[in-house]
């Protein structure tokens, strides 16, 4: 973990998303797919907390050596400010943070699934898996075609690629999870990696549990500091010995977790009833208006 003043090399608009490339060799050298950075917001403004972004690209060699790219969806005060940032401006960056994806030692056929700009971390992973001689197949999902992140890059990095959009404007109509069974079947998937919203991740995890496919997932949870101090970004994860579960911090113990060990129902609250259970003897109206 390093804290640096990083100069912005360039900024780009990619569909609905923004991408920022930084000069941050101290971070880029150590970054692994799945890890993230914490970007400081301008002082003296009403939004205080650092914003956290997964690392999309970290170049160690070549003409881009020492650079780091991250992607975001400008939908809140902090990311809107960041979308206005320009080249040569400096950002206060801490990283790399969290634990990245683990690579399979024996298995070769990897299926990478992402939703929206979750693809940023997945494309970085695809590169690393390919350089380790693994087969990579990909499923990208998003609400609209504009929100499918770098489909051409995805195609370049994978053996096969399937795309799903909710409005059907690119690829199949549906979600990434809908395409999963078929793709997993045809590509002989042995390992699954995923990034996206937790409802989608849960569906993927249920599929993986059913087919007994090992899966690793980069989760999203509301983060305060990103450095393990505030304990706000926790995910309930069962212990290895099965003796119970712990609320582990997505920032330091994750954001990548073994999908089979996440207690999805507990994590997602499974829509708790609006009212507490009525006390005994209280007349319960089963259906209303009757």
């Amino acid at each position: 973990m390093r804290r640096v003043k990083a100069e912005i090399l360039n900024t780009r608009k990619l569909g609905d998303y923004h991408s920022v490339t930084l000069v941050a060799p101290e971070i880029a050298e150590r970054a692994r797919p799945g890890q993230f950075i914490a970007v400081g917001m301008p002082p003296g403004r009403a939004f205080l907390l650092r914003r956290h972004f997964s690392i999309h690209q970290a170049s160690r060699r070549g003409g881009w050596a020492g650079t780091l790219e991250f992607v975001f969806d400008p939908r809140g005060v902090g990311t809107e400010w960041l979308a206005e940032a320009r080249a040569h401006q400096f950002l206060d960056v801490i990283g790399p943070l969290g634990k990245g994806f683990a690579y399979p030692s024996r298995l070769t056929n990897c299926l990478l699934i992402s939703e929206g700009h979750g693809a940023a971390t997945i494309l970085f992973l695809a590169q690393e898996l390919r350089s380790r001689g693994r087969r990579v197949d990909m499923v990208l999902g998003a609400e609209t075609g504009e929100r499918v992140f770098k489909p051409i890059e995805g195609k370049r990095l994978s053996q096969t690629i399937a795309i799903a959009t909710e409005d059907g404007s690119m690829g199949e109509r549906g979600t990434a999870a809908d395409l999963l069974p078929e793709v997993a079947e045809t590509t002989g998937t042995q390992v699954i990696y995923a990034a996206g919203r937790r409802a989608t991740l849960r569906k993927i995890a249920e599929f993986c549990a059913e087919r007994r496919i090992p899966a690793q997932m980069a989760v999203e949870e509301q983060m305060g500091c990103g450095m393990g101090q505030c304990f706000t970004c926790v995910v309930p994860v069962t212990r290895k010995d099965g003796s119970g579960y712990d609320n582990l911090r997505a920032c330091t113990d994750g954001p990548v977790f073994n999908a089979a060990r996440i207690l999805w129902g507990r994590w997602m609250g499974d829509e708790p009833p609006l009212l507490p259970t009525p006390p005994e003897g209280f007349p319960v109206v089963r259906s209303w208006p009757g």
Binding site: F47, L48, M227, G228, C230, F231
Partner: protein, 318 residues
């Protein structure tokens, strides 16, 4: 006077810190992974509140950013006092940083058992009693701090048993000055003012509160004036009582304001989550202020706020 290097150490009636700036409870975990925080350049560490057994805490979401503030409710997640004493405390003690152990509980017995597990441990210079947890015995889900009789019971029991000085962290609610007097009568060595302010954030789109809790506590610059008023009013009523000021301190000037309002030392919370070097930078800011004004030590700032009119405000208007 000018040109003399000010002495930064502070003494809270026997509880000494090398710098007047401490890490507030909950913002440096239990000291296990200080990360980018340099423990050698900090006045002291107040731990995350400790319970008797490991506590898992609340469901998520546990936090939401609000204008100039952080709304959060973690629900006391901590490894338990035993693991803290075995694993984390030795590391903090080795770094030589004074430790203030925050004591929490949901029953009088738990407070006593946690406080007694912390007695005679090297490194711990004080206890800080956190009263924001729900009182399972008598409170019907209300925190201990809501009832003066319970505050008196808990603080009294801990203070009678403890050989280490006991601070009490109070929220700026109800008649604060009266509550402060209650704590002193019960045997408190000093106070930490203030605990977070209760707050609610609403997601109108989904018709849901933004925290699972759903009411959390607000911290950060948004609560600084509330905290300053609390410190000011209590310091005025009880000038000999050591007070640690906490709430929205992020710059050297903020800390100076607290010292002028009557604090003996200052804790930094939310700012540390953003800037791990905040406590040291704030201490540097205080030092620069003291040098500029030719003041010898932070204690000389205490209560130096010039108030033109007498105490016209009703006491305990909070």
């Amino acid at each position: 006077m000018a040109g003399v290097k000010p002495r930064m150490a502070v003494d809270l009636n026997g509880v000494a810190f090398p710098l007047p700036i401490l890490a507030a409870s909950g913002c440096l975990g239990t000291g296990r992974e200080p990360g980018l925080v340099d423990l050698h350049r900090i006045g002291g560490v107040v731990t995350r509140s400790l319970t008797l057994t490991p506590t898992k805490g609340s469901p998520t979401p546990r936090m939401a950013e609000t204008p100039s503030g952080l709304l959060s409710w973690v629900g006391l997640q901590n490894p338990g006092v035993e693991e803290f004493v075995d694993l984390d405390l030795p590391r903090l003690a080795k770094a030589g940083v004074p430790v203030v152990a925050s004591v929490a509980g949901t029953s009088l017995e738990e407070y006593l058992r946690v406080a007694s597990s912390l007695q005679g441990r090297p490194g711990i210079v004080a206890l800080e009693v956190y009263l924001g947890a729900p009182d399972d015995e008598r409170g019907r889900g209300e925190p201990f701090s809501a009832r003066p009789d319970r505050v008196h019971e808990v603080v009294g029991a801990v203070a009678r048993m403890s050989r280490i000085p006991v601070f009490v962290k109070l929220p700026a609610l109800g008649n604060l000055v009266e509550m402060a007097r209650t704590c002193v009568r019960a045997g408190a060595h000093g106070l930490t003012l203030i605990d977070g302010v209760p707050g609610l954030a609403v997601d109108a789109e989904r018709l849901r509160p933004r925290l699972a809790a759903p009411v959390g506590v607000l911290s950060g610059p948004a609560i600084k004036p509330i905290a300053l008023a609390a410190v000011f009013q209590v310091a005025r009523a009880l000038p000999d009582l050591p007070i640690m000021g906490v709430g929205g301190v992020s710059k050297g000037e903020d800390a100076v304001e607290f010292l002028l309002a009557g604090a003996w030392a200052v804790q930094v919370g939310t700012a540390m989550l953003v800037n791990p070097a905040a406590p040291f930078e704030i201490a540097q800011g205080v030092l620069a202020y003291l040098k500029g004004k030719g003041i010898a030590e932070p204690a000389d700032l205490r209560g130096r706020l010039r108030v033109e009119r007498g105490p016209t405000v009703r006491e305990g208007v909070l």
